[in-house]
């Protein structure tokens, strides 16, 4: 009796091992990645690529804030950025200022470049509106602060957000030294005048910012602000010596915002 039970358990154990090994072996043996009939994903044929995307803004080509409006509008329209400060909107309140969503906006020199603050800046620069947006830093503070990896840096240097993953903790907003991020305190949809059906909107409770037009680069288009700038903004690969940004940078003296922080902004300004 004792002996046969022992035997039974042994045989049962070995059988179980054998039966269990079959499906495991099947999974390990099948390497589906080389199967032609399996669905695949790939980049678009026209997609633009770079090692580090960068932007150079020639501020000499702007004289007043009016010059920046078409650029800002082009961006905000493309990306369905709500305008809470639209006075014609039925629910407009001055307090909406607190809820403002900004991807790209004008800033005075003293606020854009506080670390380069000089008591005797020349009149032109003092009066000049600077176009500011997310700097797509080489060493982004927001990416380190994000607890869910909703914000991340892509291989081409773009600091991007996965809105699905954002939990709205706003650590990134505290971490960003440029104020480039905005939080959706309310549903933005009622405040989007002409919705671009090709780009999603955002929902209440997520942070958003400039995405360097990743969706346009993917189909071979330049960012919306570059297109709308009439040649005042150059965009290209910083590591490519033939690119327009490299040429502009080698021919002109440029400044970056708050360089002392070590974030390594990818936005350069010709003053």
């Amino acid at each position: 009796m004792e002996k046969s039970r022992r035997r039974f358990l042994k045989v049962a154990g070995i059988t179980a091992l054998g039966v269990g090994a079959k499906p495991t072996w099947d999974v390990l043996a099948s390497d589906s990645s080389h199967d032609a009939s399996q669905p695949k994903v790939k980049k678009g044929d026209k997609a633009l690529s770079a090692e580090q995307w960068a932007m150079v803004i020639d501020t000499r080509k702007f004289t007043s804030e009016e010059d920046l409006h078409p650029i800002i509008e082009a961006c905000h329209k493309t990306h369905n950025v709500p305008d809470f400060l639209d006075e014609e909107h039925e629910d407009y309140k001055p307090a909406n200022k607190r809820h403002e969503i900004k991807w790209i906006w004008p800033e005075e020199y003293k606020h854009a470049f506080p670390s380069l603050e000089n008591h005797h800046v020349n009149d032109r620069v003092k009066a000049l509106p600077f176009l500011v947006m997310c700097n797509h830093c080489e060493n982004p503070a927001c990416v380190k602060a994000c607890p869910t990896k909703a914000t991340f840096k892509r291989d081409d240097g773009i600091v991007l957000m996965d809105f699905h993953r954002c939990i709205g903790c706003r650590f990134c907003m505290a971490a960003c030294p440029y104020g480039s991020r905005s939080f959706n305190f309310r549903d933005p949809r009622p405040y989007i005048k002409d919705r671009n059906p090709e780009f999603p909107t955002r929902m209440k409770g997520v942070v958003e910012k400039c995405n360097f037009c990743a969706e346009r680069l993917a189909v071979g288009k330049m960012p919306a602000c570059v297109e709308a700038s009439n040649g005042a903004i150059a965009f290209g690969d910083l590591n490519d010596h033939e690119s327009e940004v490299s040429k502009w940078l080698s021919e002109n003296f440029t400044i970056r915002r708050k360089p002392g922080l070590g974030t390594g902004p990818a936005l350069y300004y010709i003053v």
């Binding site: 009939s37 399996q38 669905p39 695949k40 994903v41 790939k42 980049k43 678009g44 997609a47 991340f152 892509r154 081409d156 991007l160 996965d162 809105f163 699905h164 919705r195 059906p197 090709e198 780009f199 999603p200 909107t201 955002r202 929902m203 990743a214 993917a218």
Partner: protein, 135 residues
């Protein structure tokens, strides 16, 4: 007979068990042991004309959420935006511009099944909920 096991409070225990079983099976006998009929989906003209979805109908029925999850990861993280299906046909991996372009009838297509399965995905909070349809 010392071996004979005695059940104490037999009446109460059995009554309690009966009540418990009746309560736990409430959803079943309340619906007369019949499942609610599966919803009938309506396809838009565009979807009918296209005949095939990105993948087979059965796959899409069961796995569309996994597919969308893979698409999101691929598009947002890797910048890979083109999907090549088993037949070699290419698609722009976009819920807004590809899926909801054909399936623009949220109420008759998406909602019917989601309501039936009692799931509340919030895709449409950001991705187009057909702007032609006024809410």
């Amino acid at each position: 007979m010392p071996d004979q096991k005695q059940m104490y409070d037999k009446g109460k225990v059995v009554a309690g068990l009966v009540i418990f079983v009746v309560l736990i099976t409430f959803p079943f006998w309340y619906n007369h042991l019949k499942a609610a009929p599966a919803p009938q989906l309506e396809l838009t003209k565009k979807a009918q004309a296209a005949k095939n979805c990105v993948r087979s109908k059965d796959y899409m029925k069961a796995e569309h959420m996994q597919l969308l999850d893979v698409w999101r990861e691929s598009v947002v993280r890797n910048g890979e935006r083109v999907y090549v299906n088993e037949e070699g046909k290419e698609f722009n991996m976009s819920l807004t511009n590809t899926c909801l372009d054909c399936h623009s009838n949220k109420a008759e297509f998406c909602d019917r099944c989601h309501n039936y399965a009692s799931v509340n995905p919030y895709c449409w909070d950001c991705h187009i909920d057909n702007p032609k349809e006024k809410k």
